[in-house]
């Protein structure tokens, strides 16, 4: 939308209203993380700013377009809207974006079939001319998260939007993540040149190897190559699709003795948030005992040469394929990341290779489920795949079930299973949010359009027979057997049959080297039940901690007129809503103020002061005149007596 008045500040104040489902709150915070990674837009809990976004559970999913300067600007994430791309879509509206197909040049790219549109819904296919809406010199985007799908407002089964290039017919309407052009437009509109959480991405395509350096303290070097006889045959970035390109870094362990090391260090990096996620692919064509160690070199005033700290030892690297790894870091000072290849015992005919490094100040997924030979699975009938068992940080055991049976959609479900800690855990399982991500394996984290869904365990949810859905699997689950023959109990699954369509699954880089990765995170989000404003993630590992004290303090305080309770120095305080010319005040936001009141007070004060001054002046004049009159009359009396006496 054209007009600077519609822009928000780069840090948008927000409130997550209590009406929101807990799963929705978690999803919204995850959506904010995508903005922080890929744009210069950040979000902060509202602390009294004139205008803020109030996210609540209304009827449906909707938003206004742009900053309306109304103080509290509502954005609804209602039932079934708690999907990350839906939240991204609604916030793009709030940031000033219309739908992609309402562009002035829309008819050059798609045909709207008017007689297939539901009667009375034709207005949903409006076009804005270029004096109202600016496409910011970005081409029409079929893959925009702001585009409708072909079935929008149809009155039958035939598409209402037909793309002029037929290959895009099933592309429009994606709800995975920002497209490249979405980001280009957003970053142009808000003059973005950097983001809060992105640090570096390197696919080693250029000879400068992204400014990485070979350490001088080691005995061997990493080589910049595009192919190794013993493997890999090609890099991970392009998978051999581009001739004369596709490079990676290689440490030849076959040419060195046991114990020899080669260290490759990144350029200097400057952290902002204090927690990082390092992601990269490794290929091993050497010995099974070769390993890679990840170090950080942190520079401080007392250690200008940098302190080298071992962060992770990676052993048993699979032979003969690229494998994805994540390493969590917590660095608060300027630093480098170092990859150390170590020649282990045993014979080696090849070596270790690294490619597609990404470093960001985000949280790493807790688990990676790698599914190999995926194309074969996708084409086979009765394809049901179950992940290995995993444990959440709280100790709950779980398993993921991927259903490939449908010819159009892929389903994904989360199951609680019996585990070693079940006797110590709370049942029914309360408020654990499972986030399942199908990874788009684009080499650059900023260009990925990963498909993500989250579900949350509600301890009050019941089955048809009255039993608790998330109760202990050994109580409510059914018996199942792992491939190794171990028997266990599996609870009922919760998820979606429409996780992703087959057509989208084979697009992008979801399947790469015939591998698919499902990233899994299960975290306790019960703290989001609190009405306290959620703090930004901080350097400590416990990112979101409104604490039970916050909950207790606020449970005794009721803020009026839409005020929000927050805890400051262990005391509950009400943050009162305010607009441009009005505000609420008082301990409980019980009093209303406005600029009109101020004007009245100022005028009244002025008039009062004027009146008092006038009274004082009049009294002073009266008293002075009276005094001089008295003096004058006594002088006259004395003068007449003198004269009498003289005569």
């Amino acid at each position: 939308i054209i007009g600077d008045e519609y822009r928000w500040p780069h840090i948008i104040p927000y409130v997550l209203e209590d009406s929101l489902d807990l799963n929705a709150k978690g999803v919204i915070l995850n959506a904010f993380e995508r903005y922080r990674l890929k744009t210069c837009i950040d979000f902060k809990p509202w602390s009294g700013e004139a205008n803020y976004v109030s996210v609540f559970k209304g009827s449906g999913c909707w938003s206004s377009v742009g900053n309306m300067h109304v103080g509290k600007q509502e954005l609804s994430i209602g039932e079934n809207c708690d999907r990350i791309a839906t939240v991204q879509h609604e916030f793009l509206h709030a940031l000033g974006f219309w739908h992609e197909q309402s562009r002035s040049d829309r008819d050059d790219y798609v045909t709207i079939v008017w007689d297939r549109i539901l009667s009375g819904r034709e207005h949903n296919f409006n076009i804005y001319n270029d004096s109202v809406s600016d496409s910011l010199n970005v081409p029409y985007d079929y893959s925009s998260v702001m585009h409708y799908s072909k079935t929008a407002f149809q009155n039958g089964t035939e598409p209402t939007i037909v793309t002029r290039i037929s290959d895009f017919e099933d592309v429009i309407g994606q709800r995975m993540d920002f497209s490249d052009y979405d980001l280009m437009k957003l970053n142009r509109l808000y003059n973005c040149s950097s983001s809060l959480s992105f640090m570096d991405a390197c696919d080693f395509e250029l000879e400068n190897i992204c400014g990485m350096i070979q350490s001088s303290g080691d005995t061997a070097d990493w080589q910049w190559l595009s192919q190794v006889l013993a493997g890999p045959e090609n890099d991970h970035s392009n998978m051999g699709q581009c001739k004369e390109s596709g490079f990676f870094m290689y440490f030849n362990t076959s040419s060195v003795k046991e114990g020899v090391t080669a260290m490759l260090e990144s350029r200097i990096l400057y952290p902002k948030r204090g927690f990082q996620c390092l992601e990269f692919y490794l290929y091993n064509s050497g010995s099974e005992n070769d390993q890679v160690n990840i170090y950080t070199r942190v520079y401080t005033a007392s250690n200008p040469e940098g302190v080298l700290t071992l962060q992770r030892e990676i052993k048993e690297i699979p032979i003969g394929s690229w494998q994805l790894y994540y390493v969590t870091l917590q660095v608060t000072e300027k630093f480098r990341v170092a990859f150390e290849g170590v020649r282990g015992p045993g014979s080696s005919l090849g070596g270790l290779s690294i490619d597609d490094i990404n470093l960001s100040e985000t949280r790493c997924p807790h688990h990676i489920w790698r599914i190999q030979n995926f194309t074969q699975l996708l084409g086979s009938q009765n394809a049901e795949i179950r992940s290995p068992p995993y444990y959440s940080p709280k100790g709950y055991a779980y398993q993921i079930y991927l259903n490939l049976n449908s010819s159009t959609n892929v389903g994904i479900y989360f199951h609680l299973i019996s585990g070693a800690n079940d006797d110590q855990l709370q049942w029914p399982c309360p408020w654990q949010q499972a986030t399942m991500t199908l990874l788009d394996q684009n080499p650059d984290i900023r260009q990925r359009m990963s498909n993500q869904r989250s579900i949350t365990t509600d301890p009050t949810m019941t089955n048809d027979d009255g039993s608790y859905f998330w109760d202990r699997p050994s109580k409510v689950g059914s018996v199942a057997i792992f491939p190794n023959g171990t028997q266990f109990s599996r609870g009922r699954g919760y998820g979606t049959s429409a996780f992703i369509t087959h057509k989208r699954l084979i697009s992008r880089e979801f399947i790469k080297g015939d591998d698919v990765y499902i990233l899994l995170t299960v975290e306790d989000i019960s703290h989001l039940n609190s009405t306290a404003i959620i703090p930004d993630p901080v350097p400590t590992s416990t990112a979101i901690v409104p604490t039970s004290a916050a909950h207790n303090a606020c449970s005794e305080v009721e803020c009026q007129n839409g005020g929000v309770c927050t805890v400051h120095e262990d005391r509950a305080e009400c943050k009162c809503p305010a607009g441009e010319d009005w505000w609420y005040m008082g301990k409980r936001c019980e009093k209303r103020g406005s600029t009109q009141d101020t004007i009245v007070i100022a005028v009244a004060s002025t008039v009062t002061v004027f009146a008092v001054m006038l009274v004082i002046t009049l009294v002073s004049v009266y008293c002075t005149r009276r005094k001089y009159r008295k003096r004058a009359s006594s002088k006259r009396a004395a003068l007449s007596l003198e004269n009498q006496h003289a005569f």
Binding site: I1, S59, G60, C61, W62, S63, S64, V65, G66, M68, V70, Q73, E74, S76, G78, E79, N80, C81, T86, H89, E90, H93, W98, H99, S102, L118, G120, R121, H123, N124, N126, V132, Y148, S149, T151, A152, F153, G173, R175, Y401, N403, N405, S406, N409, G411, Y413, I455, F469, S478, R492, G493, Y494, G495, T496, S497, A498, T501
Partner: protein
């Protein structure tokens, strides 16, 4: 083939519902499907 109800609960009930489907099913007639106009004509 749908997964039997006894094994899993499908939050999407077998269909992919987009934003405008959700709003339409609720009987909402929002501008362009999911845009709320705060003041008459201000956004447009």
């Amino acid at each position: 083939l749908p997964v039997p109800e006894m094994f899993v609960k499908d939050i999407d009930e077998g269909t992919e519902r987009d934003i405008f489907d959700i709003n339409e099913a609720l009987g909402l007639d929002l501008f362009e499907g999911d845009i709320r106009l705060l003041m008459q004509g201000k956004n447009s």
